[in-house]
């Protein structure tokens, strides 16, 4: 019978589409859980500068470049150990060594990068190495960016924070110093970056024989990865990927938990009748007027924001929902069927009648309802996260939207930040809805004429 139902189901194109969407989500979930284990995902998502320092902030997905004529820069990251980076170490005198490093990179983009950062790491015992940073534009213009001693072993130079540089290059009042570094004509009304080969020369001077100097150049682009980054430089891809299994698990568990428990409770109420039924009905009626979301918000604020605690509360609050009433209507009809009387007459126990004679009758209506219920719980979880009650540890779709909202993503034109998780939520909803409606038609033949 089940095989027949499946065959019939596949005759509906919407069911096939829904199944493909769900299959896609399931594959993504499995892939995610295998490639990024839970602990790794948490580490990455909660990590700070040490993990995400070289990633641009609020960068759009890299594939944006395929759809625009103005190419936005990717991030260029070079270290002194990399091939193609020229180093020149020489002793000048007894207590003087030079260590020059020249970074060369090609820049062929139509927009300015976000930031240029030079990180200097020096080792010394008494006298710190001294470094001059020189910027060479493709047309040969040299700009001396900074002269600094690597005090404390580590110095970071960030061009965007270099106010002196702006004055030195006579830039307009609110132009970024980066315009000075990249523009063909920095004073122009609408400056464009100069394309070509840039050089960054680090002229290091060491004062001790064992002293060393290492460095790193990062030219932060404005696009990153397949999903972009957020305000904490984190790759949104991780949250989008991990949001999938979390959403599916949450939706499925919540839908399964409420549907199965609701079904059993209403069956028990109908079968035993009397005060059992009356009690269940009164609890349901009271529970139906209780607002679920405010209760969840209260629990989130005062008690816990853990996703699994929320799941439990949602199930507990949804068990005595409208489902009790609709199931009851069906069960009352089933209970009066002659075959129930026959089962009692041949001695079937109460539990046997409930599980083997009443429940199978409601399964065909339960399955489509269950499938369409899954996305509503996914959305509920997202709603909670958007309201700031998301799980504090787990990355979820709702939390991305919440972060985006908190950081004014839409005011800043960072549409990808909101649209990516929203699109996934919508795809999930549509996929389950399409499957659910088709299942409804397969299992409830009366709907087929419509």
């Amino acid at each position: 019978m089940l095989r027949g139902a499946l065959k019939e189901l596949l005759r509906y194109p919407s069911a096939l589409a829904g199944l493909l969407v769900i299959l896609f989500l399931v594959v993504v979930s499995i892939y995610t859980v295998i490639t990024i284990p839970y602990s790794e995902a948490i580490r990455l998502w909660r990590g700070g500068e040490e993990i995400w320092g070289d990633v641009p902030k609020l960068a759009a997905p890299a594939w944006f470049n395929h759809f625009t004529s103005k190419k936005r820069p990717l991030t260029i990251k070079l270290t002194s150990q990399d091939e193609g980076v020229e180093s020149n170490y020489a002793q000048i005198s007894d207590d003087l060594w030079v260590d020059d490093t020249t970074y060369t990179f090609d820049f062929q983009y139509d927009e300015f990068p976000q930031e240029v950062a030079v990180t200097l790491l020096g080792t010394f015992t008494e006298k710190a190495p001294y470094v001059s940073i020189v910027w060479v534009k493709p047309d040969g213009t040299e700009i001396r960016l900074a002269d600094m001693a690597v005090e404390g072993g580590k110095r970071v130079y960030r061009a965007s924070q270099d106010e002196k540089l702006g004055r030195k290059l006579k830039l307009p009042a609110n132009a970024s110093p980066l315009v000075g570094l990249f523009a063909e004509d920095p004073q122009a009304e609408d400056p464009v970056p100069m394309k070509g080969t840039y050089q960054v020369r680090l002229e290091g001077t060491l004062f001790e024989p064992d002293s060393t100097l290492q460095s790193k150049l990062v030219v932060y682009g404005t696009v990153y990865g397949w999903a972009g980054t957020d305000h904490l430089r984190r790759d949104l891809g991780i949250a989008l990927l991990w949001g999938t299994p979390v959403a599916l698990a949450f939706g499925l568990l919540a839908a399964l938990g409420t549907t199965v428990l609701t079904m059993l409770i209403s069956a028990i109420g109908v079968w035993y009748g009397g005060w059992v039924d009356a009690l269940i009905q009164r609890i349901t009626e009271v529970n139906l007027v209780l607002p679920v979301l405010p209760i969840l918000i209260m629990i989130g604020v005062f008690y816990t924001r853990s996703l699994w605690a929320m799941l439990g509360v949602i199930i507990a609050l949804s068990i005595f929902g409208a489902g009790i009433k609709t199931n009851r209507a069906i069960f009352l009809q089933v209970k009066s069927q002659p075959y129930i009387e026959a089962a009692r007459a041949y001695g079937a126990s109460d539990w046997r009648i409930i599980f083997f004679y009443m429940v199978p009758r409601i399964i065909p209506t339960i399955i489509p309802a269950l499938v369409t219920l899954i996305p509503s719980f996914v959305f509920l979880e997202a709603s909670l996260a958007v309201l700031g009650l998301g799980d504090p540890v787990l990355p979820t779709w709702g939390k991305i939207i919440n972060d985006a909202r908190d950081n004014g993503a839409l005011y800043q034109g960072l549409f990808y930040w909101v649209l990516e998780p929203s699109a996934l939520l919508m795809i999930t909803g549509i996929g389950f809805a399409m499957l659910g409606f088709s299942l409804d038609r397969v299992f409830n033949p009366r709907l087929r004429e419509l």
Binding site: P338, Y339, A342, A345, Y346, G347, A348, P360
Partner: protein, 358 residues
């Protein structure tokens, strides 16, 4: 309860009367009427003071119109409702006295054939599963053993070859086949008593006779006691030896089948028999005399004889005040009607004149 034992538990007392399988004593099935969900507002007296004995291998018919309490009587006999008062003795033992285990054993001794064969079969179970259920419930664990028994019974109810039907679902079967499955389910535990509730009223006329013949055949082969409940007097002659006529919760006439059909004694029985339509062209123009009014309310039935408001032979001052006892109007023919009291022999003539006319 591991095997299909045919004997009562050892604690059962010996049958009080030899040959009596089921004895119904002063049975009252009253349903409570509640006010505001609690507080007793009265009773629906569906079965009121009914007594009869059923002998082994005997088939009786209980006849009455809808709402007369015959279904409640049947449910009490099946152990589905607890009587308000009175006893149902199976082999001399009260069926409710033995607790849950006793009731379970009793139920394994009783087969139940229902009215609507499609409703009586769970639509989501195959024939095989439907027939397995009663066997599982008496603890027959071995699958092969169950299947063998199922095949045996299916052959008996002429669902053969069984393989053609085992994996079918009820909606794939015709009405007659469905009713055969119902009969097979009733027979699968080798019961000694069968309760048949209008077993053919929902079937096509073409298969009614076959099903009745089948029931008759099974009854004879297994020496089965049968309680056949119907509102249709035209089918009772097929296999019942005695007929009980029920009206408003009481048995008003008990007699062997032919005796009752040819010599009805109670005015209600007479009216019931008059209402049978034979396929005769002259019937179309004949105006039938039917008792006026409706069957009485079972919450507050009329005092005295319950039929008296509709009875044209009623004796004022007697029928409307005193409940008639059973009179043996003819040998082995009992009727609860004051007309058969010697005091009112003169009033009986009007009725007898009507009986002659028929």
């Amino acid at each position: 309860m591991t095997t299909m034992t045919q004997t009562a538990p050892s604690s059962a007392p010996m049958a009080s009367e030899k040959n009596v399988l089921l004895s119904v004593r002063n049975l009252k099935v009253w349903y409570e009427l509640r006010k505001w969900g609690f507080g007793l507002a009265g009773y629906v007296k569906a079965v009121d003071n009914v007594s009869f004995d059923l002998h082994e291998g005997e088939a009786i018919a209980i006849v009455g119109e809808s709402g007369c309490g015959k279904s409640s009587l049947m449910k009490a006999i099946l152990g589905l409702v607890r009587p308000h008062d009175g006893q149902i003795l199976y082999q001399g033992q009260d069926i409710f006295a033995g607790g849950r285990a006793g009731l379970r054993w009793y139920r394994s001794q009783v087969g139940y054939v229902q009215q609507d064969p499609f409703g009586a079969l769970p639509p989501f179970m195959s024939v095989r599963r439907i027939l397995e259920e009663p066997l599982i419930l008496i603890g027959m664990k071995n699958r092969e053993e169950r299947l063998a028994r199922i095949r045996e019974v299916m052959e008996e109810v002429k669902l053969s070859p069984p393989e053609d039907f085992l994996n079918k679902f009820p909606h794939m079967l015709s009405g007659g086949q469905q009713q055969r499955v119902v009969i097979a389910r009733a027979m699968i535990r080798n019961p000694r008593l069968m309760v048949a509730d209008e077993p053919v009223s929902m079937l096509d006329a073409s298969v009614r006779v076959e099903i009745l013949k089948l029931l008759r055949q099974i009854q004879e082969e297994h020496n089965l006691a049968v309680i056949y409940i119907t509102h249709d007097l035209s089918t009772v002659r097929y296999f019942s030896e005695r007929i009980f006529v029920m009206y408003a919760g009481k048995l008003i006439e008990k007699a062997p089948t032919d005796e009752l059909l040819w010599h009805p004694q109670h005015p209600y029985t007479l009216a019931l028999l008059n209402a049978i339509s034979d396929p005769d062209a002259s019937n179309a123009r004949k105006l039938r005399e039917v008792p006026p009014g409706e069957p009485p309310s079972l919450v507050s039935p009329p005092p005295g004889c319950r039929f008296h408001p509709r009875c044209k032979y009623r004796i004022e001052g007697v029928c409307d005040t005193e409940v008639p006892p059973e009179f043996e109007a003819r040998p082995d023919h009992f009727t609860a009607c004051w007309l058969y009291d010697e005091r009112f022999a003169d009033r009986r003539q009007a009725l007898e004149a009507d009986l002659q006319f028929d």
